[in-house]
Each structure stands twice: as structure tokens, then as C-alpha cells.
Symmetry: C2
Subunit: 265 residues, 2 copies
DNA sequence: GCCGCTGATAATGTATACATTATGACGGCG
DNA sequence: CGCCGTCATAATGTATACATTATCAGCGGC
């Protein structure tokens, strides 16, 4: 089982670090993120942190379906802790756009309408375009370049084998590698926020996707532009890529069951 | 709309506040800070909300200087409430990038290095460029157009009179109007987040700014492009505007007292 | 039969008690 | 003389008690 929910580098400066040394993490490799077991029950973690991770995990992976409403007390029972850490975790999740807290009505897992998703993609894509540009401007480390090349190869291979789900995970990784290569930790962490929000929707259409031959080609050209240090071209290509991919995704999502047209923001 | 600096969101900080340059707040500092009660004292609001607004206000307006560290207990005393709402408020503020929570070390008002500000501007500008494009794409309402035209006139007038501080507030309003015209609430709210983070720094250089004749001209051309519905041109002009303005801002900030280049965070 | 009032009730908001743990002082040891 | 382990303590983490308040059922008036 994948842990795609945590492909994106976890905590970042403006983000949700709990116990962080003074200096922020270096341009960090994302490699460590994969090792973590998806189910987080480590009892040594603070309860607040367990609550946050567990709820985030369940929301992203579908255990808590969009529209689900739970009371603080119910969550407390569910996760076997008191309301205090639950409240702190839900505040974080609300800030991240995953739930909505309505006093005396409960905590609701955000259900996204197509309009919501369109909004999310608009922000996400604008940021990713810039990330590509910055990556080009700043240059790829040898490791990042290697990594991206490996991902491109693997994606093409997955495409040939028709392993769309696997391809999708590699795609996530590719894009998050670009985010990391932007050298801007805040950009990276804001991207992760929006990534989380669209994660479930994206997951839902994975099986519907056609062979992503075109994306493979676009990815490769984006990589080449970044590698060549051509900022304008990297941004141009990424913009084109995202415009096409976003439109396609929204199209596939149209008519999907859980994408209500009037969902909550 | 409102007389204050901007309509980014609920309460907008306007006017100047006194500085309190104490690095480490001793108990003595608490009384000093309490001396100036701001208007977020409405006792009908939940304590958590009062704490949030009051802290945000003091951080943005300088009552709580960057680098200031306070313990939960001290904040509770300062704002005359228990630790519970304080904790909830600080979690929100940390998510917004205004403070850093270091367990057993206290809550520190984030001090931004030049690198931090550069990061912030990179994200902010990427989003604002897109906002301009979307505004062009979607068209301005009559009111928005009127409002922007009025702001442009007022800005030029302020420039002629050398009222830089006033100009700066109008500038905020102009940019937030564009954000609103993007029609994307998430974009707007993320812009506000980053705007908050750079607010103090921007405030600090207001008196140092030269006559913003050039910005006035750029603003007008951006407005024209948006009004003409020319998405690409609006983005192009906004990008140029921001690149120039950001570079200038960072240049002015270099050497400013509270902007430690090493990362005084 | 509908509207609005009212109070019981449940849920949240806040305070506080209690548990846990990092820190920094202190003193012994090398 | 300095290093390291230990412990007291302060600060946070969590649970729980208590206060406040919105909701909704039920009732009475219109």
C-alpha cells in the first residue's frame, strides 16, 4: 500500500513543525518520507500529533469520506484520547483546508465541488509553474537530476506496462521533486497544502486515465528545460502541461460520485 | 469599503504602533505591552478569537517585535485568559507563519531574514501574477473597475503630494482588489497569508521609498490590461511590476535593523 | 395548522488539575 | 578544572471539570 499522502516533504518552516531545531531543514531530500509506515500509531508521539496524522491519513486515503461529520467527542473516542489534542489537531486540519469546523455541528471532512477543485488547481498550478522556473534558475543538484531522470524512465516504463496507478505515484514524486528543487521551502510547503486538498479527487480518477504518453513527453521536455537552466522555457512548458492536465482532470471528475456541485469549501 | 489599509480580510491593521525592541520579554515587558490595549477587546468574542486577533495585531503592528519570545503562561497572563485559548490561537498563528512554537522554549515571533523575505516574495508574486491574469480572464465588475480607477487616481495624487505612507495603503488596496477580482477565494486567502508575513518589513521601508512614479504607471497599465481582458498581457505586466518592486524592496531592506541577514529566527 | 417562545440538553468554550518531560543546575568523578 | 550524569523544576502535554451557549423539541398562542 502506498503512502502517497506523505510523498510531499512533511514539515516546512512556515508549516507545522513541532519540535524543530532553529535552522530550517536544508533543501532536503524527500527520500526519507517514503520509509514511514502509513499507519501512524507510534505511542511515543504526542497525542496531538497522532490525532493530526491519523485524521489526515484517513481523510486522504478515504477512511473518512468527504462530507463525514463527527463531533469532538466522537473523534476523541475514535482515537482514544481526550478532546484537547483533538481540538488542536482539527484546528491544524482546518487551516490546511481539509475539514471545516462548525461549532455545535461538528467537524466535517470537506467535500469539494468541481468549482473548489478548479480553484485549487488554479493556485497549485500557478505555484508549480513558478517552482519549475525557480528550479531552472537555481539549477538542479546532481542528485535531483539523477532522481528526476530515474523517475522519467520509470514513468515511461509504467506507461508502457499500463500501470497507471504506479505511474500516478511516480508523477507525484516527479512534481514534488521539482517543488523541492525550487529552493523555496515556503513554496514547497504551500504546494503540499494544495496537493493534499486535491489528492482524493486525483486518486478517484486514476483508473479512468488514458495512457499518459503525452504527459511523459511533456515531463521530459520540462526536465530538459530545467536542466538547461532555461527559466522562461521551463515555466512555459510547465504552464502548458498543467493547463492541459488540469483541464483533463476536471473533465474526468465531472460526474464522479463524490464531487458534489455544491460542496463545502 | 473600509478606510483601513486593505480589505484582505476581517480586521486590517492601519496606522503605526510603537516599537518594543526587547528581545527576550521579561515579566516587566508584559505590563508594558498591556499598556496599549488595541481594539480587539470585544468581550463577546470567544477568548480564542480575541487571543488570535490581539496577537496578530500586535505582531503586525510591532507591539510584539520579531524575535520576542513568550511562554504560554506569560501570554495567558498578558491576555488575561487561560492557556487553552492561547494554545489554540498560537497554533493558528504558527500555521500562518507568524510565530514559531518551540516546546519548552516558548512562542517566538518570527524574525525574517532577507532570505525569508525573498522566499515570501517569490510565492506572493507568483500568486499575484496569476491573480491579475484571472482577473483579466474573468473580467472586472463595474464596481471593481470604478474602485480601481479611483485608487489609481488617488495614488497618483498621493505621489504628487509626497504622501508615501498614504500611497502605500492605497497600493495595498489596489493589489487586494486585484486578488478579489481573481474570483478565486483560495488564491485570495493564500495571498493574504503571505501578505501578512511581509507586512512588517514593508512597513519598515515605507519612509525610505522614493517617489513611486514608476509604480503608478505600471499599475495603470496593469489595470488597462485587466480591463481589456488581456490575460497574457496582464500577467506579463504584473510580473514585470512585481519583479522590479520586489527587488527594490529587498534592496531597501538590506541593512534594516530587524532584518538579520543570517536568519535571526 | 403555523409561528415563535422557552427550556432541557448536548456540544463546545474555557479553566484548571494533573502527568510528563526537557532543561539547566549541581555536584561528583575523571 | 572540566565533563557528565542525576535530579529538581519549570514548562508543556493531556485529561477533566466546569461554564456557556446554540439547538431543537414541545408547547401555547394566534
Amino acid at each position: 500500500m502506498s503512502d502517497s499522502a506523505s510523498d510531499w516533504d512533511d514539515d516546512s518552516p512556515a508549516g507545522t513543525a513541532d519540535r524543530q531545531p532553529r535552522r530550517r531543514a536544508a533543501p532536503a531530500a524527500l527520500d526519507g518520507a517514503r520509509a514511514r509506515p502509513s499507519r501512524n500509531t507510534d505511542p511515543t508521539l504526542p497525542a496531538r500529533e497522532r490525532a493530526y496524522r491519523e485524521m489526515r491519513y484517513r481523510i486522504l486515503e478515504g477512511g473518512l469520506a468527504p462530507g463525514t461529520t463527527l463531533l469532538e467527542t466522537e473523534l476523541a473516542t475514535l482515537l482514544a484520547m481526550s478532546r484537547t489534542p483533538i481540538r488542536e489537531a482539527t484546528i491544524r486540519l482546518e487551516k490546511e483546508g481539509l475539514v471545516t469546523i462548525r461549532p455545535r455541528h461538528g467537524i466535517t471532512v470537506n467535500a469539494l465541488s468541481l468549482d473548489d477543485l478548479a480553484e485549487i488547481y488554479e493556485v497549485f498550478s500557478a505555484l508549480e509553474v513558478r517552482a519549475a522556473g525557480l528550479a531552472a534558475l537555481r539549477g538542479l543538484s546532481t542528485e535531483a537530476a539523477e532522481r528526476m531522470r530515474g523517475l522519467l524512465d520509470a514513468m515511461e516504463h509504467a506507461t508502457q506496462q499500463g500501470r497507471i496507478e504506479h505511474w500516478s505515484r511516480l508523477d507525484d514524486e516527479f512534481h514534488s521533486t521539482i517543488a523541492a528543487a525550487s529552493g523555496n521551502a515556503r513554496l514547497q510547503s504551500t504546494l503540499r497544502l494544495y496537493w493534499d486538498q486535491q489528492y482524493r479527487a486525483r486518486l478517484a480518477i486514476v483508473p479512468l486515465r488514458a495512457s499518459p504518453t503525452r504527459s511523459d513527453a511533456e515531463h521530459r521536455s520540462i526536465f530538459e528545460a530545467i536542466r538547461a537552466g532555461d527559466e522562461a522555457e521551463a515555466e512555459r512548458l510547465m504552464r502548458a502541461h498543467r493547463m492541459r492536465a488540469d483541464a483533463q482532470t476536471l473533465e474526468l471528475l465531472r460526474g464522479q460520485p463524490f464531487v458534489a456541485s455544491g460542496g463545502a469549501g
